[in-house]
């Protein structure tokens, strides 16, 4: 019985934190956000060197063969440093698609490239978690038609696309008939956009159970976003505490004011149990298949709510500075905001949790 991180897991987190702070931390994120590049190759390369891109890919395919909990721990660090890097799609959901629904040839063709970071894969299944704007993709006669919005890790070479029947397909980024429309969102660290399929020839993943693979991808994707929020929110709390200790008003550090202390205590009190929830949900993905979908919903919804509270409260503790670009706190605020909506907002995800338990009418 051990519910905690192994030494190896702590080392993974530390290594990732060292790399991400060494690679520039907030300043790298700022430069990425300000520039015209839609990828940060240095960050991606570093992650590949650390094995993060191949974290859950089996060693036989060039990965390191770790668990989805390890992936969640990596996501937490990426959120903590608001890293401008693809992850939930290319390193988690796309490999899961290949592992659960791809045939041996597809796995051999793509998994090593994903593991090495040579290929970045985007994942288009937002419509399965809730279609907006009438979007959705249909497969007819081996070709895809329709529209997919809010692709996870959209700046990609390859797309894993879920159709309305929860079948999965591979589409090259330069496939004829595929039109890409870049979106701008509040979160400059994770580019996204829309794909329009006009009879695009696609390669189906049909070795496994498509709907089951889609379910696993959604569950894992939600836990990754929750973990990302955990890391970002923890950092916002840490920044708030540090700022409050240093900021003097009325002749004393504002950290000595009970109102400020209580704001920080409330953030800590709501956030600390979230860490265990994310661990459990991450563990469940691999080991507790019956619990995994519901726990992924709860992790996603609860971290969205707590994340929103922490994002707002940390900004308040920073006073006017929190509102400016000078301290850059808004990168964390917006990252948490993005994680809230993608793959299902809190209401939608709670409704799904109820349905999964047979509680919905």
């Amino acid at each position: 019985m051990e519910f905690g991180l192994s030494d190896e897991q702590v080392m993974l987190q530390d290594a990732l934190a060292r790399f991400l702070s060494g690679t520039g931390g907030l300043e790298r994120t700022r430069a990425f956000a300000a520039g015209k590049d839609r990828r940060a190759p240095d960050v991606l390369r570093g992650l590949a060197e650390l094995g993060v891109t191949g974290l859950i890919i089996p060693e036989v395919h060039g990965g390191v063969g770790l668990s989805l909990l390890d992936a969640a721990l990596a996501a937490e660090q990426l959120g903590r440093f608001v890293a401008p890097a693809p992850f939930a799609g290319t390193a988690v959901m796309a490999p899961l698609a290949l592992l659960k629904a791809g045939d041996a040839g597809q796995q051999a063709a793509w998994l090593p490239k994903l593991a090495s970071g040579a290929t970045v894969a985007g994942v288009a299944l937002s419509e399965v978690t809730g279609a907006r704007d009438g979007a959705g993709v249909e497969a007819r006669d081996g070709r895809l038609h329709g529209r997919a919005q809010f692709v996870v890790d959209y700046e990609a070479d390859l797309f894993v696309v879920a159709d309305r029947a929860r079948g999965l397909h591979l589409v090259a980024a330069d496939a004829p008939g595929l039109t890409r429309t870049d979106f701008r969102t509040i979160d400059a660290t994770r580019p996204t956009g829309e794909l329009v399929f006009d009879g695009v020839a696609a390669e189906p993943l049909k070795a496994g159970d498509g709907p089951a693979a889609v379910r696993a991808m959604i569950d894992a994707g939600r836990v990754m976003l929750a973990a990302d929020t955990l890391g970002a929110a923890q950092d916002m709390l840490d920044q708030a505490v540090a700022y409050a200790k240093g900021r003097v008003q009325f002749g004393r550090a504002i950290a000595t004011f009970q109102a400020v202390k209580h704001m920080c205590a409330e953030m800590a009190a709501s956030l600390e149990p979230c860490r265990s929830l994310v661990w459990y949900a991450g563990h469940a993905l691999d080991h507790l298949p019956e619990e995994a979908p519901v726990m992924a919903c709860h992790a996603k919804a609860h971290l969205s709510e707590v994340g929103t509270f922490v994002a707002r409260t940390s900004t308040e503790v920073h006073g006017g500075m929190g509102f400016t670009d000078l301290v850059g706190l808004h990168y964390w605020f917006k990252r948490i905001g993005y994680n809230r909506q993608v793959l299902g907002g809190p209401q939608a995800v709670r409704a799904e949790a109820a349905a999964l338990q047979g509680l919905a009418a």
């Binding site: 907006r132 009438g134 969102t185 008003q249 900004t315 006017g320 929190g322 509102f323 670009d325 605020f333």
Partner: protein, 391 residues
């Protein structure tokens, strides 16, 4: 309790409507020019209404209801209510109250006409909630103040011709009594303006740096060391206006339209009972603040007192706007993340912008923590925190 307006006021309302209909073509955005429009409004008493004629105003009697009617009718006609800005809203009332006759004659009329734009130099990096801690120094050398220091949150500094500014001129006086209120030209050598980008992505504010800025000694409002008093009377007016419940009502209406238009899995969001419940909870709170506003208006008209009702407006109003805008983002889901120049953007990005901007307003102009101290101490008569021992 009588929510109707008397015949006199109904007649006044008709007069305003008549004016707006007749002059629509002269309004900015409808073919007219902002400065000409301002002149026309002042001549007719729809701007600078209560400011004496000798200073360039209309010279009317103060009448809260007429002011409200003017605001309502201009909003309904969607025509500009004339020029705003901190010169007109803050400096002019200050000068009228405590300025010298010469200052009134020199500054008020061009400010009202829009020829003289002002910015406000109060906040500093280390003097936010604790404004009395301000450190920008002014030293009298001969007949000039020599000013060094930094201001922050200075909106429109890059557009302003002049600044009204708090400066510490009496370093040995108690901290509230060592500040003076100075006016000076933004073209004076030694002033550097840096835009301050905020979380909305816009530079709504600036930092302003002063290095040996020389200002004629007579450009002081009130006496040396009275700057805190001069500034404070006006600051209070600013707080309520950040959370106008009538603006909130129109945002709520826009939200309802949004919920009717947006769909999730093919169903209108308004048809989802959970979202509808949240909408109604917000509507109830908006109604409470609208009724509170009506009470404040009535109290002002009838010279009654409702101090607590006034004190809570900023705290409650900015919080509610932040929540309302955030709820709209939830309504749109992933589409609510879109921001800036991007396809599929809803409402010009206003929901995200105002969600962030109102978080800024929760903080700005006195954080929620400061507001709660004020409500507890002035509104509920609770004791101040005891003095600290010297460290």
């Amino acid at each position: 309790m009588d929510l109707s307006y008397s015949a006199e006021y109904e007649a006044f309302r008709a007069e305003v409507r008549g004016f707006l209909e007749a002059n629509r073509s002269q309004a900015p955005g409808h073919g007219g020019n902002g400065l000409t429009w301002q002149k026309l409004l002042i001549e007719n008493g729809y701007a600078a209404r209560t400011i004496p004629r000798e200073y360039g105003g209309y010279g009317g009697e103060p009448d809260i209801l007429k002011s409200r009617i003017i605001a309502e009718e201009f909003a309904r006609a969607q025509l500009s209510p004339g020029l705003g800005g901190q010169g007109i809203s803050m400096l002019v009332p200050t000068l009228l109250e405590v300025g010298s006759e010469e200052q009134k004659r020199q500054f008020i009329a061009p400010t009202l006409r829009g020829e003289m734009l002002w910015c406000q130099g109060y906040s500093e990096p280390n003097a936010g909630s604790d404004l009395a801690a301000l450190a920008t120094k002014g030293v009298l050398e001969g007949d000039e103040w020599v000013i060094n220091g930094q201001k922050i949150w200075t909106s429109t500094a890059h557009l302003a011709h002049w600044i009204f500014c708090l400066v510490r001129t009496e370093p040995d006086a108690p901290k509230h009594e060592g500040i003076s209120f100075l006016l000076f030209d933004m073209k004076t050598p030694g002033i550097e303006i840096r835009p301050l980008v905020d979380m909305t992505g816009a530079a709504n504010f600036n930092e302003v740096f002063f290095t040996d800025v020389r200002v004629p000694a007579h450009q002081i409002v009130g006496r040396r060391g009275e700057g805190w008093k001069v500034a404070n009377a006006i600051l209070r007016h600013e707080r309520g206006s950040l959370a106008d419940p009538n603006v909130m009502q129109s945002r709520l209406n826009a939200l309802i339209d949004l919920m009717k238009a947006e769909t999730l899995d093919g169903s209108r969001v308004i048809d989802n009972p959970i979202y509808r419940d949240r909408l109604m909870a917000i509507q109830g709170r908006v109604q409470a603040l609208r009724c509170n506003d009506l009470r404040l208006l009535s109290a002002a008209v009838n010279r009654q007192s409702a101090p607590l009702a006034g004190m809570v407006v900023k705290l409650q109003g900015t919080e509610l706007r932040h929540e309302l805008e955030g709820f709209a983002i939830d309504v749109m889901g992933e589409l609510g993340l879109l921001y800036g120049d991007t396809p599929r953007l809803r409402g010009g990005g206003s929901w995200q912008r105002d969600y962030m901007y109102f978080l800024g307003l929760i903080i700005g102009g006195g954080t929620s923590q400061i507001q709660k101290n004020i409500i507890a101490e002035r509104g509920l008569d609770m004791p101040r925190e005891p003095k600290l021992a010297k460290a």
